[in-house]
Amino acid sequence: MVSEQAVWDVAASVVDPEIPVLSIADLGVLREVTIGDEGIDVVITPTYSGCPAMDQIRDDLAIAFSRAGLTDVTITTRLAPAWTTEWMTDAGKRKLTAFGIAPPRSPSEPMLCPRCRSGSTTLVSEFGSTACKALRVCDECAEPFGHFKELI
C-alpha cells in the first residue's frame, strides 16, 4: 500500500512548464493527496484562470503517476478557495530569485532586483511573458526582469 506522502512526492516532481525551477508543490498548485477506497485523489488548483500551463501540468501529472506505477489516480481541479501567491513556499521564492525572477512579496517586503539586489526598480508593465508576471527593470544594473506578481 502506497502512502499519501509517497504519492505527494511523485506529484511534487512535476514542475511548472514555464518556470521549470518551481515544482507544483512550491507554487501551491498541488493542494491535497488522499487515498481512499476509490483510489488515489490528487487535487490541484489553477494559478490564473487562463494559464495554459494548467493543461500541461495535468498531462505531466498523469505521466508521472504512470511512470511511478500508480494507477487509479484521479486528478481533480478545484477552484475554491482561489489560489493566492501566499501559498508559494519560501523554498519556491528562493528558487525564483536564483532563476532571475523577483518572487511575490508580503506587503512589508521590499522589491529587490534579483540580479544585483538593488531596491531601486521601475515597473515597465503589469503584464509580462506569462500571466503571473509583471515586467520591471532595475535602475542600478539596468537588468530587465520578471516579477511574479502578488495575487492575494
Binding site: 484562470s49 487562463g50 477552484l79 478557495p81 482561489a82 503584464f127 511573458s129 500571466a131 515586467l135 492575494i152
Partner: protein
C-alpha cells in the same frame, strides 16, 4: 433553456468575444509591452469563459462541453453584449471599450463571489483578483491618452463617444436574472459603482463625459451588430471544417 444556463452563457460569451478581440491585437499593439498586456488580459478572459462554459455544459446536461458551446453555436445563440463585439478600431477605441467593460466586470465578479451557487461563486472569486489588474490597466491608459498630447486626447474623446452608445446595455436584464435571485447579480445593482468608476476615470483623464445615447440592439437575447458574424466566422471556421480534429 434553464435560466442558469442562459445566464452562464451571457457571462461566458462576453468574455469569449472580448478575448477574441484582444487576441486580434497580437503583434499589432503600439509597443511590445502593450502587445503582451492586451493578449494577457485576453487570456484571462478566455480562462474565465472556459470555466463558465464548462459549468454551463454541466448545467445544461445535454453533453455539450466548452468547445461545443464556443464553436458550434450560431450568432443568434450568442448572448454577449454588443459592446464587446465592436471592432478594435484605434488603440484608443480598444481602451474605451475595455474601460467600460472592466469597470463593470470588477464589481460584477465581486458580487458573484457571494452567489449562493457554489461553482459560480468559486469562478467569480478567482476571476475578481485578475479583473483588478484589468481595470487598473485600461484606466491608466484612459488617463494617459486623455492627459497626453492634443492628438491622443482627441482620439480618446472620440473613442469614448463612439463606444458610449453601447454602455446602457450593461444594465439590461430580463426574467433570466429575475429567476436566479441570490445566484445571479442584477446588473442594475452595479450601476452606481460603474458610474462612479467611469466618471472619475474620465474626469482624471481631463475628458468629457459623452451625452447619453443607446442602441436598440440587445446582445443578451441574441440580436447583434454585424461584426459578431465575422468574428464567429473566423473563430469557428476550423473546428466546423474539422469537427473531430484534436491538437
Amino acid at each position: 433553456m434553464k435560466p442558469l444556463f442562459v445566464y452562464l452563457l451571457r457571462l461566458g460569451d462576453d468574455r469569449l468575444i472580448l478575448s477574441h478581440r484582444l487576441a486580434e491585437w497580437s503583434s499589432r499593439a503600439p509597443d511590445l509591452e502593450e502587445d503582451i498586456a492586451l493578449t494577457n488580459i485576453g487570456l484571462d478572459l478566455l480562462g474565465h469563459a472556459r470555466s463558465l462554459y464548462q459549468y454551463a455544459g454541466a448545467v445544461e446536461g445535454a453533453g455539450r462541453g466548452e468547445d461545443q458551446l464556443a464553436f458550434h453555436r450560431d450568432e443568434r445563440e450568442f448572448f454577449n453584449l454588443v459592446l464587446v463585439e465592436q471592432p478594435n478600431g484605434s488603440f484608443a477605441d480598444t481602451i474605451a471599450r475595455q474601460f467600460l467593460f472592466d469597470a463593470f466586470q470588477l464589481p460584477q465578479w465581486r458580487e458573484l463571489a457571494g452567489s449562493t451557487d457554489e461553482q459560480l461563486a468559486a469562478i467569480a472569486a478567482k476571476a475578481e483578483k485578475e479583473a483588478q489588474y484589468h481595470l487598473r490597466h485600461s484606466r491608466a491608459w484612459l488617463v494617459r491618452l486623455g492627459d497626453g498630447t492634443e492628438r491622443s486626447r482627441h482620439l480618446m474623446q472620440k473613442a469614448l463617444i463612439r463606444v458610449w452608445r453601447y454602455a446602457e446595455e450593461l444594465f439590461w436584464s430580463d426574467e433570466v436574472e429575475e429567476a436566479l435571485a441570490g445566484i445571479a447579480v442584477v446588473p442594475e445593482s452595479l450601476r452606481d459603482e460603474w458610474t462612479s468608476t467611469v466618471t472619475s476615470g474620465i474626469a482624471e483623464a481631463g475628458l468629457e463625459l459623452p451625452a447619453t445615447a443607446s442602441t436598440r440592439l440587445s446582445g443578451r437575447t441574441g440580436i447583434h451588430s454585424e461584426p459578431l458574424g465575422r468574428i464567429l466566422a473566423e473563430m469557428q471556421y476550423l473546428p466546423r471544417m474539422h469537427p473531430e480534429a484534436v491538437w
